[in-house]
């Protein structure tokens, strides 16, 4: 009996009138946990009852504690008829199960009814007494901390990053059961809410178990999603990154959890003790197959005699042109890739191999994190993504499900699908992602996420991430020891440009890319454009500000059923991805930027159309070459006069110039000329003497704009568009003109506004305390059935643009301000409806300081030179480990192949790709592709090895930054705590001192009186407000005052205006925290913690 749950019902207030005659209510409360129910006395004739009940005690397994919510039902006592339910409160007691999180849940909770919404509030106190359980075979995973935050949480320090954890649970959807026909909508909704709550609890427990097996104590970047598959069931799935986190004592510098640098890192106990090292198998050979639980990354610190090293040897590894090669990659491992150090930089190779060894061990070297401690991320390859179209009805086999799922159900007719089916689907996708990453010469995928889009029986599974090479230091235990060795060599490449350096072999590039020497260090090659799904590394050197870049696309599709439908969709997918990619690239050029961060591509399927929305934050990385301009070329001079073309060209050039001004892009280069100037200038190489010139023949290739092109043309279509100086848009038909116009439609944000979809706004870091999180939903009805793709595109683009305009207008009082973490979600809820849901946060910043900061950039070069001299010793040890790993990876490769489940009977996007040739594969790799103008350098550029964060430290703490925050918190005399919410991992001007646990809530709201509630808008408006209120109440009850990493994962809205009905499902999550104002903290702890003054930069780094 490992736990005792105690609950006390104190009082209620603002209850609804349940008895019309007396205008009062005779309320009592039922408290239920598992199968045990307690009741309070009836408090007669009061709308503000005082129950002050005894402590209700539940003695339960910790397994149940994790799965079950505490269910509190408020009822109106009725002597003659059945008691009427007023509403319910579900309290997730998970936060009470961590030793260092909340110790009590106490506060006012809104009483929620799925039909009437919030009906009054109830004051409850909940406590848990946990007994230590030494049972090795326990099913619970109490104590494992969960964080939605996609970085190492503030006030923690990651001693070890174990890697990817995933799990999914399947059950039948109560809404689709026979019993639903005879029960009330309320009963049905409540069954659903309860089931999902149980399933999330179970899922979290199972993930926790995996983490414990891996030796971790926390999951960071926890992402849980629901798939409402309708008839075929309900899937709750989650992914995350298992870590071992150490809590930083409040005495030590709070924000230095990023410091894995041995010089500054305080000695961690775990790291120094040799016994710890011996506790777990050090070597990969111990791993029988990849199906077992992944172990922490570990690399060999000892060195034996290294095999001969041949850096110049050309490699024989798979070329990107071959699909089959790619699919083989995971099985053969990086045998060939790892054996020869054929990369340009030997040090890099070495480091990579070292990490590879660690990473090879695990099935999926994926990380759901999007920002990392400095030095963690060595190189970034580019975006990798995979999609697969599945038919849901095909797998409708009433096989025996997970035994645990049965327990969850209150009914008997269970025909849940085997979770293994879904597992296999995701396994397939992840394998594909892994192989893509390999093709980019990367051993890991960071910023990894998964999503689905379901329409009837068709389901698109998508996964995407950023291929990367990680620093092995973080992958193994006893990092400090290793750190000492590493320390002697310093970083392999300067931190502010190193991640841009290509991880793949320049002679055998996985796709045609134009490489130049890094504009920072001049020693390594960089691509001309970089696309990633992660946040901008805090140490990256950028010029000017970033901005939100969106590509939007609609594609009509014929209505179809079953396999035909799935085929049609998978045929459309590559075209959509291609076009989205082109749009992104064009828009990036138009803003004179050269990198995208936080790229998120969503493809939503509806009955008669597909919607694609790609959002990212564009930025100018000074390490990368300046982007070329966009050149307009006419194909048929008869159609369009050259005058017309030149006018368009002029508009584009003007836009670029305006944007440069707007985003303050003044790259710190002497040769930073207008991109147009470069058009036609012969490529000359950097006269750096660092490496030999890269031959780069110029030739222009056409950008194919429509897929009406003949198929033979298609086959030669190369996403890279060949290599050319400037990006050429060819106007061959009116569609192309439309496209160009639509490019120019994107209005820049009004003065005083910036926008991005990442955690950090590139170029802005001096946040003031104004924070406004918001959710906005817009649904558009397409009245015209005969719409063309072009027309649809326009409508969709306008919808998104108008939403942004609305935000700017509404938030105009916050100027100067930045909309951060703009998260757009699109859906096609019905045939002619388009739904866009946006959650973001507006944050005010200090305008004056920004300018100062961008103006001065410290130059720091000395360390670079020093590093070069220290390369050799590292090679020795690294190479030996790499050889060891090869064998290991081969072994595990076999395991993997046997593990591969047969493909489900469904149309697979991947198999479609098999039929097509190279370009499609490239398309999916979606790495930096389109070429830009050449650059001539005649001088040595200064390497600006400045670190933004160091600058931050120097900046004095702004006066009054926390003033407004505090004033708003001091809520004069009222009992309601102000709870701030933000989708970011930090709150400006404050420091998080405690994480109280994860908030993961699912609500259903239904109405049968839609008109009376103010129509669909009124209904949804109050529902969203209610959801916010319930989240805030739960956080406040935990003792918190903020929610960070908040996200609305699901917002499914269905209406039937004719019946005056509507229903909506919302799932939200986040981390409940206590944060204190930095100025408060400063006064309490006088220790100079320099790192934290710079709000976003440092936070992002953690």
């Amino acid at each position: 009996m490992p736990g005792k749950l105690k609950a006390k019902i104190v009082a209620g207030r603002h209850l609804p009138v349940m008895d019309r005659a007396s205008d009062l209510t005779d309320a009592f409360v039922e408290v239920k946990f598992g199968n045990t129910t307690f009741k309070t006395d009836v408090c007669p004739k009061s709308l503000n009852p005082q129950w002050n009940s005894e402590w209700f005690k539940f003695e339960v397994d910790d397994e149940d504690l994790q799965d079950e919510p505490l269910q509190i039902t408020v009822l109106d006592h009725d002597t003659y008829s059945a008691n009427d339910a007023i509403g319910k409160v579900y309290i997730d007691i998970d936060p009470l199960l961590y030793s260092e999180a909340a110790s009590v849940i106490s506060g006012w909770f809104p009483i929620y009814d799925t039909i009437h919404g919030i009906r009054g509030e109830i004051n409850v106190i909940v406590k848990v007494e946990l007994f230590n359980d030494l049972n090795r075979f326990r099913q619970s995973s109490c104590g494992v901390k969960f964080f939605c935050t996609t970085c190492i949480p503030q006030c923690y320090r990651a001693t070890l990053v174990h890697g990817f954890v995933e799990e999914l649970v399947v059950n039948e959807d109560p809404e689709y059961q026979w019993i639903d026909r005879i029960r009330t909508p309320r009963a049905s909704n409540e069954a659903r809410q309860r089931l999902i709550s149980l399933m999330s609890g179970e899922l979290q427990r199972k993930i926790g178990l995996k983490v414990l097996e891996m030796g971790g104590n926390a999951v960071v970047g926890y992402l849980q999603c629901f798939d409402l598959e309708g008839e075929s069931g309900l899937v709750v799935r989650a992914i995350g990154t298992a870590c071992t986190l150490d809590k930083l004592s409040s005495g030590s510098a709070p924000n230095t959890n990023t410091h894995m640098h041995p010089n500054t890192a305080p000695a961690s106990n775990a790291c120094n003790s040799p016994s710890k090292d011996g506790k777990e198998p050090v070597f990969v050979e111990d791993l029988p197959s990849s199906s077992g639980p992944p172990t922490p990354f570990r690399a060999l610190p000892t060195s034996s005699s290294p095999p001969p090293f041949s850096p110049s040897k050309p490699c024989s590894r798979q070329s990107s042109s071959s699909d089959t090669d790619l699919s083989l990659t995971p099985k053969t491992g990086m045998g060939s890739g790892g054996s020869a150090g054929k990369e340009a930089g030997p040090l890099r190779t070495l480091l990579r191999q070292q990490t590879q060894t660690a990473l090879e061990q695990r099935e999926f070297p994926f990380f759901t994190l999007t920002s990392f401690p400095p030095g963690f991320l060595l190189h970034v390859g580019g975006v990798v993504s995979a999609r697969s179209v599945k038919l849901l009805d095909r797998i409708h086999n009433p096989a025996l499900g997970n035994t645990r799922s049965y327990k969850l159900l209150d009914w008997n007719s269970v025909t849940a699908d085997e979770p293994e089916t879904r597992d296999a689907w995701w396994e397939e996708i992840r394998q594909e992602i892994k192989s893509h990453a390999r093709a980019l010469g990367c051993h890991a995928v960071v910023g990894y996420s998964e999503s689905t889009s379901i329409c009837e029986e068709v389901c698109i599974l998508s996964a995407s991430g950023t291929a990367a090479i990680l620093n092995p230091r973080y992958m193994r235990e006893g990092c400090l020891d290793i750190g000492c060795t590493d320390h002697r060599f310093e970083e392999p490449s300067p931190p502010n440009c190193g991640f841009c350096h290509i991880p793949y072999d320049e002679l055998n590039m996985p796709f045609p890319a134009q490489l130049t020497y890094c504009y920072h260090c001049r020693r390594q090659k960089v691509p001309d454009v970089l696309f990633t799904t992660i946040d901008l590394p805090s140490e990256a050197a950028v010029a000017g500000k970033g901005c939100l870049i969106q590509a939007r696309l609609c594609r009509l599709k014929k209505k179809a059923q079953g396999e035909a439908n799935a085929t049609a969709i998978s045929n459309l997918l590559p075209f959509m991805e291609y076009e989205l990619h082109t749009q992104l690239m064009n828009k990036l050029k138009l803003r004179s930027m050269n990198a995208l961060f936080g790229l998120h591509i969503q493809i939503s399927v509806g009955e008669n159309m597909l919607l694609g929305l790609a959002s990212a934050t564009g930025v100018y990385l000074t390490a990368l070459p300046a982007p070329g301009g966009i050149q307009i070329a006419g194909k048929t001079p008869g159609d369009l006069s050259s005058e017309h073309i030149s006018s368009i060209q002029k508009r584009i050039n003007d836009t670029i110039a305006v944007n440069k001004e707007l985003y303050q892009i003044n790259p710190p280069k002497l040769f930073a000329l207008d991109p147009e100037v470069f058009c036609g200038i012969n490529m000359e190489l950097a006269e750096e003497g660092v490496g030999s010139p890269i031959p780069e023949p110029r030739h222009r290739s056409r950008l194919f704009r429509s897929h009406s092109e003949s198929s033979d043309e298609l086959s030669e279509l190369d996403l890279s568009h060949g290599k050319k100086d400037a990006f050429v848009l060819e106007i061959d038909d009116t569609d192309a003109v439309e496209d160009i116009h639509s490019l120019l439609i994107d209005a820049p944000p009004p003065t005083g506004f910036y926008s991005c979809n990442t955690e950090n706004m590139p170029g802005i870091s001096n946040w003031t305390s104004g924070v406004q999180m918001f959710t906005s939903v817009r649904v558009l009805r397409l009245s015209n059935a005969n719409l063309t793709n072009q027309g649809l595109n326009k409508i969709f683009t306008d919808l998104c643009e108008n939403l942004l305009k609305s935000f700017y207008f509404k938030l105009r009082s916050m100027i100067p301000c930045c909309l951060c973490h703009l998260n757009f979600t699109v859906a096609v809820p019905e045939e002619e409806l388009i739904q866009v849901t946006v959650t973001a946060v507006a944050m005010t910043y200090d305008k004056e300081q920004t300018q100062e900061k961008t103006a001065e950039k410290p130059v720091n070069k000395g360390s670079l030179e020093a590093e070069e001299q220290l390369q050799f010793p590292l090679e020795l040890c690294a190479d030996s480990s790499s050889s060891n790993i090869q064998t290991a990876s081969k072994i595990s490769g076999v395991g993997e192949s046997t593990n591969m489940s047969p493909r489900a009977a469904s149309v697979d996007y991947g198999s479609f790709a098999d039929r097509c040739s190279t370009w499609l594969e490239l398309l999916r790799l979606k790495a930096h592709t389109i070429r830009r103008g050449s650059v001539k350098t005649s001088r040595r550029t200064q390497s600006l090895a400045h670190s933004v964060s160091s600058l931050e430290r120097c900046s004095p703490l702004q006066e009054g930054r926390s003033r407004s925050l505090r004033s708003s918190r001091s809520f004069g005399g009222s009992s309601v705590t102000v709870v701030k919410m933000t989708p970011l991992s930090f709150l400006p001007g404050t420091r998080i001192i405690k994480y109280l646990g994860i908030i993961n809530m699912f609500f259903i709201r239904e109405t049968t009186s839609l008109r009376e509630e103010g129509g669909v808008s009124g209904f949804l408006h109050s529902f969203i407000a209610e959801v916010f209120a319930m989240v805030r109440a739960h956080v406040a009850a935990l003792g918190g005052n903020a929610v960070v990493s908040y996200s609305m994962k699901e917002c499914v809205f269905m209406e039937n205006p004719n019946k005056n009905q509507a229903q909506c499902l919302i799932n939200v999550s986040g981390d409940a925290v206590i944060c204190i104002s930095e100025t408060d903290q400063e006064s309490s702890a006088s220790t100079a913690n320099t790192g934290q003054t710079g709000g976003s930069e440092t936070d992002g780094a953690t």
Partner: protein, 335 residues
């Protein structure tokens, strides 16, 4: 193509004071958009009409949802649905309970009943305050009336605590409640020149001097009802006009005091007896409810109008009344 659904919800509820005022003033969404466009917000943020419309709709919805809470303002502070900073809450309440002087002038002293509510459209037409706004204001009066009716303690303080209003607004509401309770007639043509603030001042004076609360401060309805005993005692003043000697004595005392101090001395001396009779008669009749209602009209007809026809200034009036009262105190009968 049409926008089916459009909502924007902030964690901190966003409210534009300008739109709030338009909503309170009873503008429809479309009219409000027009007003805002003319106001020039569009230039502020490169907004279009659609943006303005969407924003206005959102805000109107928010206000509608808040309205329920505004009916019992104390709830606004501890409700959980909207996160509104305290200073905003104060603004919301203050503005919600604010009223148009022209409107309140029309209903002042009337019974706050359904019957009066039915006449609101006439009042709306007359005052050019929108019907919606009239209804809100009327309902506010009624709500405040109902709540304070059952409360003990000082009227103004009760209103301020229950509705979290500013002192000024609480005093105005006290006047409205006081007038409604005593049903003072204020609608007659002869009273039209008096503004609400004039009456509010009178109400303040009456409440502090003539009510039960003026004597004992812990009785129910203490500030709302006139002190019956006091009114009864007023009858004794009749001696001032019925006793010829006393009347002359009083007159001579007042005249001595005023001689040379006012330009209208001659007129005053001439009409002293009439004026005194008028005042005392009004006072003596106040035990009668019907006469209480006519208090202001009587005062105007019997006292103010004669004075005005003699071209008294306000200062003359003040002087006269001061000495009228003081002299009465000197008389033996009242010593």
């Amino acid at each position: 193509m049409s926008v089916e659904l459009d909502v924007f919800v902030g964690n901190t509820t966003i409210m534009d004071e300008e739109v709030y005022q338009l909503w309170l003033d009873g503008y429809t969404v479309n009219d409000a958009v027009k007003v805002r466009m003319e106001g020039g917000v569009m230039d502020e943020c490169e907004a279009s009409k659609d943006v303005l419309l969407s924003d206005t709709m959102d805000q109107y919805r928010t206000f509608q949802m808040c309205e329920r809470l505004l009916h019992s303002p104390a709830k606004l502070a501890n409700q959980l649905l909207f996160q509104i900073p305290p200073h905003r809450q104060i603004m919301l309440i203050e503005r919600y309970y604010a009223f148009d002087d022209t409107f309140v002038r029309e209903v002042l002293g009337k019974k706050l009943s359904k019957g009066t509510k039915k006449d609101l459209d006439d009042i709306s037409a007359k005052t050019s305050v929108t019907l919606k706004s009239c209804r809100r204001q009327f309902d506010n009066f009624k709500r405040v009336f109902k709540v304070v009716e059952e409360l003990k303690g000082p009227l103004v303080e009760n209103i301020r605590q229950h509705f979290l209003l500013s002192d000024k607004l609480a005093r105005d509401y006290a006047a409205i409640v006081f007038f409604a309770n005593n049903r003072f007639e204020t609608g007659k043509r002869k009273l039209q020149y008096l503004s609400f603030q004039d009456f509010a001042f009178c109400a303040g004076q009456l409440i502090s001097n003539w009510t039960v609360g003026a004597v004992d401060n812990m009785v129910e309805d203490m500030d709302v009802d006139l002190d019956k005993e006091f009114l009864q005692e007023l009858k004794e003043l009749k001696i001032l006009i019925t006793d010829k000697d006393l009347l002359d004595q009083h007159k001579s005392l007042v005249c001595t005091a005023l001689r040379g101090k006012t330009k209208v001395f001659i007129e005053m001396e001439g009409s002293f007896k009439n004026l005194s009779r008028g005042l005392i008669n009004i006072a003596a009749k106040l035990t009668n409810t019907k006469d209480v209602r006519d208090f202001f009209i009587d005062l105007v007809e019997k006292f103010i109008e004669p004075c005005r026809s003699d071209r008294w200034s306000a200062a003359d009036m003040k002087l006269y009344l001061t000495h009228y009262t003081n002299s009465a105190h000197i008389l033996d009968t009242f010593k």
